[in-house]
Symmetry: C2
Subunit: 269 residues, 2 copies
DNA sequence: GGGTATTTGTCCGTATGTATT
DNA sequence: AAATACATACGGACAAATACC
């Protein structure tokens, strides 16, 4: 046999799940039953189940059993769209969007730090490594589900030039983008998003309550905002778990209306 | 005992990797050596290594050993940008972008099918389930590395109205967007991308040569293109492995210039 | 090419712990 | 408290891949 036994067992179970013979939320046979059914040892059955777990097809619950996963209703974030709102990422802007969908959003207090820019942040802001930057960090939840972690970095120079509220951990209700325009005359004219996916770190596993085996990865989105002189004025890094988030962006003329892809893979408008 | 032993071993090794004491491409101690070092059984050490593998921190090579991963130089795809080029996804358009970066791109022949639209495709094209659609499927590689799999769906009605070349497996060199404009007067005025991440299926694992344990997930991007009547004219589904791909999109005025995030997490412009 | 040592992969059986019902 | 089910841990045996002589 080309394939080891635990893979064959996994393939068999996977076929049953994908064909719909095993439905979401349905319990699989116990490890003991599967051991007899496939004539394998319990450890081999467990290897098969572990593979399906990594693939996100099943989940195990101690004391209960192994179940076919039921996907989470995803939250959809629109990354582009109305250019006038473009890049308004901190503060209340996204709250209205969330509320529109009858969901309840919550923000943590803003955690403020002054750091020496490491390489990755310095490069995004076009400043030398080690330059002081302000970081404003915030955690967000929707319907009590941890949703995203966001950190925005601004050159320390902005404070010296008069934007002192950047150093306040108070929420800047009108948005930092507008605040910087009013206080310093720095106007954001565009931004660039870089989307990556990676495994979560320990902090992210804890906040998002992700399985500690790292099978759920996170989006990491670097947003660099530019002012009228084509200089970076802000770098925002946002983390979203991939198991509950999708992103939309639109180019050109696109009809309005939600486009949500539901849990079973189908769509609705 | 808060943590089981295999997690403690994994955390210890993880700390060594993240602190740089174990560098990318460096070999870890063998399982036997780790067993003695931590006073655990070989299977327990293997559990720790399996965890690190799922987290993407190490990789094992039979007959050789276990090594700290060296990240792949990612390929960066710009999803928005020049509105005149917007949505030109099939054919030669992306080849120039690749060539500009001194990489060599290759496309498979287009695989053509006529299908009854399943729910997910019907919803994207606003047509009833079961309506006939044309699917044009293509696999793409860059520098001999499998890069993406793309399938575009068009209403069968387009062929009946005269766009017969949609049924040819020949590449439509000027791009299907332009072809539809010339042949039917259907003009694409915008599109919407929906970005999701999920585990790969068997076909994707094989084409992209992904590890069969499913620890590397894939982006699945649904692009719906709209014509001047705000009707969907095309649905394109593209799959990219998350371990070698990043996406950029820009809104407003953004200075030109590459923004690549290199393997170690730093950036360069 | 062949043979051998090394290293990881698969599979088994068993015992005990922990979470849930 | 007892039963059930998954989680952790151990030890052993053999297979498969690789490297080296």
């Amino acid at each position: 046999m080309a394939n080891p036994m635990y893979r064959q067992i996994a393939e068999d179970l996977r076929a049953q799940i994908e064909s719909g013979r095993l439905k979401p939320r349905q319990q699989l046979q116990t490890e003991i039953e599967l051991r007899e059914r496939y004539g394998a040892s319990r450890n081999t059955v467990r290897d098969a189940i572990k593979l399906l777990t990594t693939l996100g097809l099943v989940e195990t619950r101690p004391g209960q059993g192994t179940f076919v996963v039921s996907k989470i209703d995803p939250f959809v974030t629109t990354l582009s769209g109305d250019p006038s709102q473009a890049g308004v990422t901190e503060g209340a802007s996204y709250l209205s969007e969330v509320t529109n969908r009858n969901r309840v959003a919550e923000n943590s207090p803003i955690q403020l730090e002054i750091q020496q820019a490491p390489e990755s942040i310095a490069a995004g802001l076009w400043i030398p490594v080690g330059t002081e930057v302000i970081s404003r960090h915030e955690k967000r939840s929707i319907d009590d589900t941890p949703w995203s972690m966001q950190t925005s970095y601004y050159p320390m120079e902005f404070v010296e030039r008069g934007a002192r509220r950047l150093l306040s951990s108070q929420d800047i209700s009108e948005g930092t983008t507008q605040y910087l325009r009013e206080s310093l005359g720095i106007k954001q004219v565009g931004y660039r998003d870089l989307i990556t996916v990676r495994a979560p770190n320990v902090i992210e596993v804890e906040f998002f309550k992700l399985p500690s085996d790292g099978r759920v990865s996170v989006y990491e989105i670097f947003q660099t905002a530019f002012d009228g002189n084509a200089q970076p004025m802000r770098l925002t890094v946002t983390i979203y778990p991939t198991d509950r988030n999708q992103f939309i962006f639109e180019v050109g003329q696109v009809p309005a209306g939600q486009y949500e892809r539901s849990a079973d893979g189908s769509s609705a408008s």
